[in-house]
Assembly symmetry: C2
Homo-oligomer: 160 residues x 2
């Protein structure tokens, strides 16, 4: 046994622990999201769609359905719930009268945020335990992972 392979092994172990931690965090956050959805009397995926509208900005049902990986007809139902709950609005696009533009209702956003308040406060505390440069490293890692997740999703869609 040489010295270098031992380092490589340790390094792989470290990498695997990071990947495990990513999975663990994803799992816990998925669970949290499910409970919050239930509180808002929404289906599981609905909140993800709402977040996607917030993220993508004004967007139409079809584009949103593609982005969310949901059947367009299902999206109609999702949007019915979200609109009825007052979480977003459907407006007709004057330029293309076939299409509809979805916008989150800014005044309601705080209501969703409030349900995340516990998690939010916890995250503030967690961040407080790290140095500025640590936080930069962490944010970098998270962003890269999010981008990789996006790419993996796209690749999956494009393969048979």
């Amino acid at each position: 046994m040489t010295k270098v392979p031992q380092d490589a092994r340790a390094r792989r172990k470290l990498t695997n622990s990071v990947k495990d931690s990513v999975r663990g965090m994803r799992s816990e956050l998925a669970l949290l999201n499910r409970r919050i959805s239930a509180r808002l009397e929404l289906r599981d995926g609905d909140l993800d769609c709402l977040e996607l509208v917030a993220r993508l900005g004004p967007v139409g049902p079809s584009a949103l359905a593609r982005a969310a990986g949901v059947h367009p007809a299902t999206m109609t139902g999702v949007l019915d719930r979200l609109e009825k709950g007052g979480w977003l609005t459907r407006e007709r696009d004057p330029n293309d009268r076939r299409s509809v533009v979805l916008k989150v209702r800014p005044e309601r956003v705080g209501e969703v945020f409030a349900l995340y308040s516990g998690m939010n406060a916890a995250l503030d505390e967690i961040c407080a335990a790290f140095t500025d440069s640590d936080l930069l490293v962490i944010a970098d890692f998270l962003d890269r992972t999010a981008t990789a997740g996006h790419a993996a999703t796209r690749d999956l869609d494009e393969s048979p």
Copy 2:
């Protein structure tokens, strides 16, 4: 304007960027999970339940339903799909013949893993870009966040 408030402001900005990145990553990974579930002909929450069984170890339907925040009767349906797909087994507990023990089928785990292979490879690459000490910091952050998510979920369950 004094110097210290400026630092505090910068710090808050940094913390907020980390929190945004957490949200972004959660959102992308949730999307990826949905597509993978679809590939396996499972419902959205099913894969989370399977992962939970892997995580918790052998467990019964009731305990799993509590952990997943799912109605027990719904869990029966989830398990029917997972069992029919061959992803896990239901065994009777010889000690308590009312109860059933769920176990993931190790030989099928690789099949799920294969669908994550793109993401997995990407994560390896991402990790390769960080130093050992960075990875330790990152894993620590992820674990703390997972724990906080777990606590936030529990708190939500316990409040009215």
